[in-house]
């Protein structure tokens, strides 16, 4: 028996993954459940397990390759067939093909290059100049004519002599090369930079944030929340249950309680439609090395504070280890981003599309409170809500923030509905 192991569907919008590590080599015996390779999608590192037992007969990918769901990764077999297997001649299943280039961006029809020829690889990309027709001009490649000692100097300094402009306009001299080298050194000293490669995750974050800024008419409003009651609640939970819940957990619960009253906060803007979900699914922005992930706890409205807290703990842990499954992200309607631990007073986050809203939570600040006769020191947190105006109008958002503030200042209110 010989079978192919194919790239599993990572779910959601992800259809591309980069192979990070191949864990087996041809000839290895594997059991069901053994990890064959690790692939990085835009969201997580995804281990690909073997669902077959047998010998690895062929490896169709290597580290660094980009693969799509359904692409053949390994050939695994056992018994007589495995012994007779010839890589490539195969089991009748064609090897994975590279997908054609993504279709060019739609837009105003662009004219082909002047001579009517189109690039075979990318017909609608930037027109390539046709070599034989290129006019000789000052923009053309500089003359490579050079004195022998200039060539020698360039070789010894590792300089491409074609980049050196001759000062006499005719041929490159040794002085030109030395001058060029000094200039280069200066340039490196002053304006030197390193190119940081755009990883898959960085590209995805970039695309999604740009999409959010471009497509969502967002606006924001800030409320100040007195945190005394939340502090008490946290202490009470710890002394009663021995569990430390976080303020984010309490805020998530409060969001769910308020969404009961304003169900539009359970909505996502999908396919030009507002999809108002029946439960409150809350995401939490988690900074991980070189990236940002937003694990989501579903049905916060029907879970207790302890349950919400333990789920967030587990998901945050997984996110930090880049073990978050695609099914654990990407279905929230509202996200919480808390930068309080970094001493941020208040800030305006960017909506994680297609969600309806994101809450930016600042640090604890002590501010005076006038109790009628004297000032008291109270602890406050500034909560900034950013809303998608396609779904949520100003008054509605203000009411939401005001109810959220009320629930956090008096958590007992969460029991009301």
């Amino acid at each position: 028996m010989i079978k192919e192991i194919k790239m599993p569907d990572a779910g959601q919008t992800t259809d591309e993954a980069q192979i990070i590590a191949v864990k087996v080599k041809v000839g290895d015996e594997v059991k069901r459940g053994d990890i064959l390779l690790e692939a990085e999608t835009d969201k997580a590192t995804l281990p690909v397990e073997s669902y077959l037992a047998g010998k690895v007969l062929d490896i169709r990918v290597s580290e660094g390759d980009t693969v799509h769901a359904g692409d053949a990764l390994f050939v695994i077999g056992k018994g007589k067939d495995a012994e007779e297997y010839v890589p490539g001649a195969g089991n009748g299943v064609p090897a994975a093909e590279e997908r054609p280039e993504a279709s060019p961006e739609e837009g105003v029809p662009r004219q082909p290059a002047g001579d009517g020829f189109l690039s075979i690889d990318d017909p609608f990309g930037e027109p390539e100049p046709s070599a034989p027709m290129r006019p000789a001009s000052c923009e053309s490649k500089p003359s490579t004519e050079a004195m022998p000692n200039a060539k020698e100097e360039a070789r010894s300094r590792g300089i491409d002599i074609t980049l050196v402009t001759p000062s006499n306009g005719k041929f490159v001299t040794r002085a030109d090369v030395i001058g060029f080298a000094a200039h280069e050194q200066q340039a490196t000293k002053d304006g030197g930079y390193d190119v940081v490669p755009l990883t898959g995750a960085r590209k995805v974050i970039g695309t999604r944030m740009l999409q959010s800024c471009r497509d969502i008419p967002s606006w924001s409003a800030t409320v100040r929340v007195d945190m005394a009651a939340c502090e008490r609640l946290r202490a009470d939970v710890q002394s009663r249950y021995g569990v430390k819940v976080s303020y984010n957990d309490i805020i998530a619960k409060a969001v769910a309680a308020v969404a009961h009253e304003y169900p539009i906060f359970n909505a996502r803007y999908e396919n030009d439609e507002i999809h108002q979900y029946h439960h409150t699914n809350v995401g939490l922005a988690v900074a991980v090395e070189g990236s940002l992930l937003v694990p989501v706890v579903g049905d916060v409205d029907s879970k207790g504070l302890l349950e919400v807290s333990s789920e967030f703990k587990e998901l945050v842990g997984k996110a930090r280890e880049k073990r978050l499954a695609p099914s654990e992200m990407g279905f929230g309607s509202i996200s919480i981003s808390n930068l309080g631990m970094f001493g941020v007073h208040d800030f305006t986050p960017i909506i994680n599309p297609p969600e309806s809203c994101i809450l930016g939570i600042g640090e604890f600040v002590v501010e005076p409170f006038w109790n009628g006769t004297a000032f008291e020191a109270h602890k406050y947190v500034y909560v900034t809500g950013v809303f998608d105006h396609r779904m949520i109008d100003g008054a509605c958002a203000a009411q939401f923030l005001s109810s959220l503030k009320a629930c956090l200042e008096n958590p007992g209110l969460m029991l009301a509905r």
Partner: protein, 456 residues
């Protein structure tokens, strides 16, 4: 009055071939054509599309060679020059056909013919009569769907005449014409979408084969929407096509919209009702197994009469009609007409599918063989699969479908096998040249009985 033995109306594949064959048999023949001889097939159908299919396949092949590092860059291509050369190829065939007609003594009359009675034709003000027979071979014309903005859509003939490569194209209709255009333009780099009304493409094909055709298109980047009905088209820079699928309305924006919803019989110059020529439900002229119409002395062949709108069906029908006209009828067996779809990879089939064989009371088995296990295919980088339907009781070949390079050539082997009822033992004793793609066909037939050699 100009008098002839045989008058043929329409100079497409059916018309010009029966005219030449009739002349060769000693008949005095006149052929009426309002456009160019060669008809849809030569001028705006099979031949120009095949020219484009071939060049598109070269582009795909070139990309793959460049990807494999065999050539260093893919280079550039000129769509305008492809179109020019295509017109030249068409011109060669048209003048070749004109030459054959002339050399065989067929009188070609250029103009719109009108059938006055079974044996009388008028054209350009003159009257012509046929002593023995009149053959209607007027072909078909594209059907243009009607919906708000449908005038923005162009037909397949206009697509074939494009001067520059469109960036994007929405094709209404996933029939043979739609699929071929999709494959051609997607291969060249156009972003193509197909909107099809039926739940699946190629519904009459062996399902496994149809699936491979769809995968081939998807690999080229063609976006296929099935079960969808076009509601409207609107120009706003690009053309926005709105369509209904699963109860909700969606839209697509593209530079061009192409209607490829089918072709209807061309009855121009033929007032069927007053002449007493009976028509079928699709407006086609009804004919019997000898291609006779309900009007004595009038035969009809090709697209105007038949359901599979194929040039090779018209050739065959012409032969049937001529035999009958000459008094030795050889009725038509439509079950052996092969059909091809020139996508990349192409599809070809002949005879029955598994479902058709079961309905006909056979106990069929489906054998298949992948190009991926064939030496020639691996050498050429060809991909595909051959399927053969065999009767397990008699061991005879019932049908064949091929998806893969050279499918239209390989299917000839299938036609012989199906028409001669080749048995499994005969397949086994057949020696096929090695290495060749034809080996896959034999292996597929043997596989139906578990006897394929290069298969697990």
């Amino acid at each position: 009055m100009n008098s002839f033995d045989l008058i043929v109306v329409g100079g497409g594949p059916g018309g010009y071939s029966i005219a030449i064959e009739g002349a060769k048999k000693g008949l005095k023949v006149a052929l009426f054509e309002r456009g160019k001889v060669g008809g849809t097939c030569l001028n705006v159908g099979c031949i120009p599309t095949k020219y484009l299919v071939d060049k598109a396949a070269y582009l795909v092949k070139t990309r793959s060679l460049s990807k494999d590092g065999i050539i260093d860059t893919s280079g550039r291509f000129s769509f305008a020059n492809i179109q020019k050369q295509k017109d030249k190829a068409v011109g060669t065939l048209v003048s070749g056909t004109e030459f054959l007609l002339k050399k065989n003594g067929v009188e070609v009359v250029s103009g719109e013919a009108k059938l006055v009675s079974a044996h009388v034709i008028t054209c350009n003000g003159a009257e012509y009569s046929s002593e023995k027979a009149t053959v209607i071979a007027t072909g078909s014309v594209p059907v243009m769907p009607k919906f708000p903005g449908s005038e923005l859509a162009i037909d397949s003939s206009q697509v074939l005449a494009l001067e520059s490569l469109p960036r994007s194209m929405t094709i209404i209709g996933g029939g043979v014409i739609g699929l071929e255009l999709a494959s051609i333009f997607a291969s060249m780099g156009t972003s193509v979408s197909i909107i099809e009304m039926l739940p699946a493409l190629l519904p009459n094909a062996q399902p496994e084969a149809a699936k491979l055709v769809v995968k081939g298109l998807a690999d080229l980047g063609v976006d296929i929407v099935t079960n969808a009905r076009v509601v409207s088209c609107e120009r706003d820079g690009l053309i926005t096509t709105r369509y209904e699928v699963g109860g909700s309305e969606k839209s697509l924006a593209s530079e061009l919209v192409v209607a490829a919803v089918g072709r209807r019989p061309n009855l121009s110059g033929i007032d069927a009702k007053s002449l007493g020529i009976e028509l079928g439900p699709k407006g086609n002229i009804l004919v019997d197994a000898n291609q006779r119409t309900s009007l004595e002395g009038v035969w009809a062949i090709g697209d105007v009469a038949c359901v599979p709108q194929l040039a090779h069906a018209a050739f065959a029908e012409g032969q049937v009609a001529l035999s009958d006209i000459l008094g030795s009828p050889k009725p038509m067996d439509m079950s052996l007409i092969p059909s091809c779809v020139f996508t990349n990879p192409p599809y070809a089939s002949v005879g029955m599918t598994m479902a058709q064989a079961k309905d006909a009371g056979f106990e069929p088995a489906l054998g298949w063989f992948a190009y991926g296990s064939n030496g020639m295919a691996i050498a050429e980088g060809a991909q595909g699969r051959a399927f053969v339907v065999m009767d397990t009781k008699s061991g005879k070949t019932l049908g064949m479908s091929i998806v893969g390079d050279q499918a239209a050539e390989l299917i000839a082997l299938g036609e012989v096998a199906v028409s001669k009822h080749l048995t499994i033992d005969e397949w086994e004793s057949l020696t096929i040249a090695h290495p060749s793609l034809s080996e896959t066909v034999r292996e597929a037939a043997l596989d139906a009985f578990g006897r394929a050699v290069h298969k697990i």
